[in-house]
């Protein structure tokens, strides 16, 4: 008899213990994201698609020093440098990147380029939707990587 009673209490305790978790979790905020129906959220330091930054005047920050390309372990950054002129000014310093490509077939999002950059010109953004049918489309050009002109700098 005592055995049956004991069994019932044990089961009730186990149930209560189990359901306590269920009920507790029921009251917690939802973490599952409803992607792609709702936009995903990111941690601030998430390393997504790169963004090439502009300064407060809308000039490109990158001076084509090639340090990011040198730091890159998968060798996916390709740069061609050129000289700024008074008539054709792209960055604030003497040189700028005429061509700046990142090959996302190869990029491993390690963030070394961002760490190497002496000008804070390259950062990781939060973009991640880069799947494509054609590997060529994964080579991003400067125009795709640049952040848009700030409203203050627009003519």
């Amino acid at each position: 008899m005592g055995n049956i009673l004991k069994e019932i209490t044990n089961s009730a305790t186990a149930l209560a213990k189990g359901f306590s978790i269920t009920f507790k979790t029921m009251l917690r905020p939802t973490v599952t994201e409803n992607y792609p129906h709702q936009p995903p959220t990111f941690e601030d330091r998430y390393r997504g698609l790169h963004v090439l930054r502009r300064d407060e005047n809308g000039l490109e920050k990158c001076v084509a020093c090639f340090l990011c390309a040198a730091a890159c372990p998968s060798n996916c950054i390709y740069i061609e440098a050129a000289e700024n002129t008074a008539a054709h000014r792209i960055s604030a310093a003497e040189r700028y990147a005429k061509v700046y490509n990142i090959d996302y077939n190869r990029c491993i999002f390690c963030g070394y380029c961002v760490e190497a950059c002496p000008c804070d010109a390259i950062t990781h953004g939060h973009g991640f939707e880069i799947s494509a049918y054609d590997t060529n489309a994964l080579i991003y050009r400067k125009e795709q990587l640049l952040e848009p002109l700030p409203a203050s700098a627009k003519k």
Binding site: V63, C65, F66, A81, A82, A93, E94, R95, C119
Partner: protein, 743 residues
């Protein structure tokens, strides 16, 4: 030899010859003493104080770059005091230095960057703002950024002592001191770019390289300059099939770090937009683009028809001063055995044949001087020519000989050439008087009273001075040719010691063209065509007949065309219309004019068929400099649509039904080594980038007429037809100065 000096550096015993500088002694035992202003070969400056070391029994730290070692010296480079001093010196240098390494062209190969990284503190204790000054454009090729300059004065010294141009000085005082051009706001100089090259920091930058790339982003290929006949070794920096700079920082090759303006900047013709990229075929009077196959088949069909109708005497070939030995060798094989004609020649710029014959007859074929012999010479005799313009490296080596170990330079010239500043005797003769002076020196003919400024007395003085010298190196230009070369050699060999000779030819492979037998009467290796044995040797190697009768020289080829006897002319890498000043009608009688060229030159414009040839950067092979030293070209890039002259020749031979088995330039080179007298050179030395001297021996026929050998008298800024297509060479104001201008 004086007793060697024994000293100790950081506890390591060192033994060096007396007079050695402490910094060099340290280098010998692998101890690095950082330095900026010290540069081997230049005068001592002691400006940067980077090399301070502790020497026992001396009260303060001493500069290792100016201290001469003495016996028993005990030196320390690793004390905390020395380390601290290095740090402080760097902090001083950085007082006004912008440290804008990310934009600075020198970043990655900067001596200051390296030094700060190793010895310095990147932090500064100065609170004051840095002085700033805008960058200055000294010329289209040289820019100066004052804030980056560390005032080591290397540029001033290399320009003054190395180049004898003295274009720079120092202006203003103290923190405002800066390098200024001595002749006004702009540089007026030889534009050699040695100052850019030697600048330890990014203060002097190159107009063609600046802001383009990074030193670790390019491929480096060591090859040979394609302009003058000196054969400087140069390292091309190539990115994406575009050459972006040339220098020789590793000091390899016979030129060390030297390059003149053509070698350092004049390679840009390779990248020119005007390069031919497709064969052109004349249809209905107009040159139109055609395929390679079409162009070559047309050429061969036309050649076959002409050969069938008029015989081999109706076909002539003109070779190049720039193509490789392999190409030249194949070209003459093609002409002699496939076309069956000896009417093959090139623009001869020095009389190499006569030099070889004279030395062979005198039994002195060990007397060809090398570039190294020139800089090591104790005594030099220069007859004719203006090396400053025509042979910048040789001029540099002559200056080195005079400056570094007091060599005596004797000059016989009709013009006031710049090298007379280095000469101990300068004999100015009347125009075209060089040959007469040589004949007089050789005692062949008495000199006319008006021959030289000082009367015949000056000539006697020169002869007397030469008799007191030994191991003289004699250099002569195109002024001395034919029999006079013979006189010069005979007379030179009577001088004391081991006299050596150099004939000064204009272009990168002028010597090779003669060596390889691009001559109507001479087989490769200066074997006369009339020598039956020599002919049979080649015939058996090639399994083909060579016509025994000597062919037409280049002047007779033009005469033959005018007379309508020659119906077809093949031109490889030459522009005879311009070089020989031919008029428009000169070539109109031809039924076939085939031109292989990089550009649409005056000759190419008249051609029925033009095929785009590869430039020196796009092919491998060997070239021989004017001293007879063979060096290897290395292919570093490709240019779509072009083919090397070697490939063109192989294709032509194939279309003629020949079964040549060469697969690569090396195959041809192996045959040259086996067959051409004087060219039995060790292949490995060549492949590791050495300059291998040759000692040709042969008795080629005497020079037929005096107008066959003539130099183009290129200036520092011209290089035959090529310089026209170089932006850099035309961009500098100095290029507009009259010929022979001394900077």
């Amino acid at each position: 030899m004086a007793e060697p000096i024994k000293l100790s550096i950081d506890g390591k015993p060192v033994t060096v010859p007396p007079g050695t500088l402490l910094i060099e002694a340290a280098k010998q035992v692998g101890i690095e003493v950082p330095s900026f202003c010290y540069y081997p070969g230049l005068s001592l400056q002691g400006a940067c104080r980077m090399c301070l070391v502790a020497i026992e029994k001396m009260p303060k730290l001493q500069t290792a770059c100016t201290t001469v070692v003495t016996n028993g010296m005990v030196v320390h480079t690793d004390t905390p005091e020395v380390a601290n001093t290095r740090k402080s010196m760097l902090e001083f240098l950085l007082t006004n230095h912008p440290l804008d390494c990310p934009v600075c062209d020198k970043g990655g190969e900067c001596e200051l960057q390296d030094a700060v990284f190793r010895y310095g503190a990147a932090e500064t204790r100065f609170l004051e703002g840095k002085l700033h000054e805008e960058e200055k454009k000294f010329s289209n090729l040289v820019y100066y950024d004052r804030p980056r300059c560390i005032l080591c004065f290397r540029c001033i010294r290399v320009c003054d002592e190395g180049m004898d141009v003295n274009a720079y000085g120092i202006g203003f005082r103290a923190a405002h001191s800066e390098i200024i051009p001595n002749r006004g706001e702009q540089l007026e100089c030889e534009e050699c770019g040695m100052c850019i090259d030697i600048c330890p920091v990014g203060a002097l930058t190159s107009g063609t390289y600046r802001y383009k790339t990074r030193p670790w982003e390019v491929t480096y290929t060591g090859t040979i300059c394609n302009h003058c006949g000196d054969g400087c070794r140069t390292t091309l920096s190539v990115r994406n099939n575009v050459v972006i700079r040339a220098n020789n920082r590793d000091h390899s090759g016979l030129n060390g770090e030297f390059l003149c303006v053509k070698g350092r900047f004049g390679w840009d013709f390779v990248n020119s937009e005007r390069r031919l990229k497709s064969p052109l075929l004349r249809k209905n009077g107009k040159q139109e683009e055609a395929s390679w196959e079409e162009a070559l088949t047309f050429t061969v069909e036309r050649l076959k028809t002409i050969l069938a109708e008029h015989g081999p005497g109706a076909v002539a070939v003109i070779g190049s001063n720039r193509t490789t030995n392999e190409e030249d060798y194949l070209l003459q094989r093609f002409a002699r055995t496939v076309l069956g004609t000896n009417d093959i020649d090139h623009h001869r710029t020095a009389d190499f044949s006569s030099l070889v014959r004279a030395l062979t007859e005198a039994g002195a074929t060990d007397r060809y001087a090398t570039i190294e012999d020139i800089s090591a010479a104790k005594s030099l005799l220069l007859i004719g020519n203006d090396p400053t313009h025509q042979h910048p490296l040789i001029a540099y080596q002559i200056r080195q000989a005079v400056r570094q170990h007091g060599a005596r330079l004797y000059i016989v010239n009709s013009r006031e050439i710049k090298l007379r500043r280095q000469s101990s005797q300068y004999l100015q003769v009347k125009p075209q008087g060089e040959a007469e002076a040589v004949r007089a020196l050789a005692g062949q003919a008495p000199a006319a009273q008006d021959l030289c400024a000082g009367g015949t007395g000056a000539l006697t003085a020169l002869a007397d001075a030469l008799k007191k010298e030994s191991d003289t190196v004699i250099l002569f230009g195109d002024e001395i040719q034919g029999q006079t070369v013979n006189d010069l050699v005979t007379c030179g060999l009577t001088l004391p010691g081991k006299t050596r000779f150099v004939a000064l030819g204009d272009y990168a492979n002028s010597r090779g063209a003669a060596d390889m037998g691009l001559l109507p009467d001479t087989l490769p290796g200066y074997q006369p065509l009339s020598n039956e044995k020599a002919r049979e040797r080649m015939e058996s190697a090639w399994a083909a007949k060579i016509p025994a009768a000597p062919g037409r020289n280049i002047r007779s080829i033009f005469e033959g065309i005018r007379a309508g006897e020659i119906k077809a002319l093949l031109v490889f890498g030459a522009n005879p219309v311009k070089t020989f000043g031919l008029d428009n009608a000169a070539l109109t009688g031809l039924q076939l004019l085939f031109v292989a060229e990089l550009f649409r030159t005056e000759t190419a414009e008249l051609a029925n068929v033009v095929v785009p040839a590869a430039s020196f950067a796009e092919k491998s092979g060997t070239v021989t400099n004017t001293c007879g030293e063979v060096q290897a070209l290395k292919r570093t890039m490709r240019q779509a649509g072009t083919r090397s002259d070697l490939e063109i020749l192989l294709a032509l031979a194939r279309l003629f039904g020949q079964r040549w088995t060469y697969q690569s330039p090396e195959d041809v080179l192996r045959e040259i080594i086996a067959l051409v007298p004087g060219y039995d050179i060790p292949l490995p030395s060549l492949l590791v980038g050495r300059a291998v001297p040759t000692h040709p021996e042969g008795r080629p026929p005497a020079l037929e007429r005096p107008d066959l050998v003539f130099s183009s008298r290129d200036s520092l800024f011209t290089s035959g037809t090529l310089s026209r297509y170089s932006w850099a060479l035309n961009s500098v104001d100095e290029a507009k100065k009259p010929y022979g201008h001394a900077f």
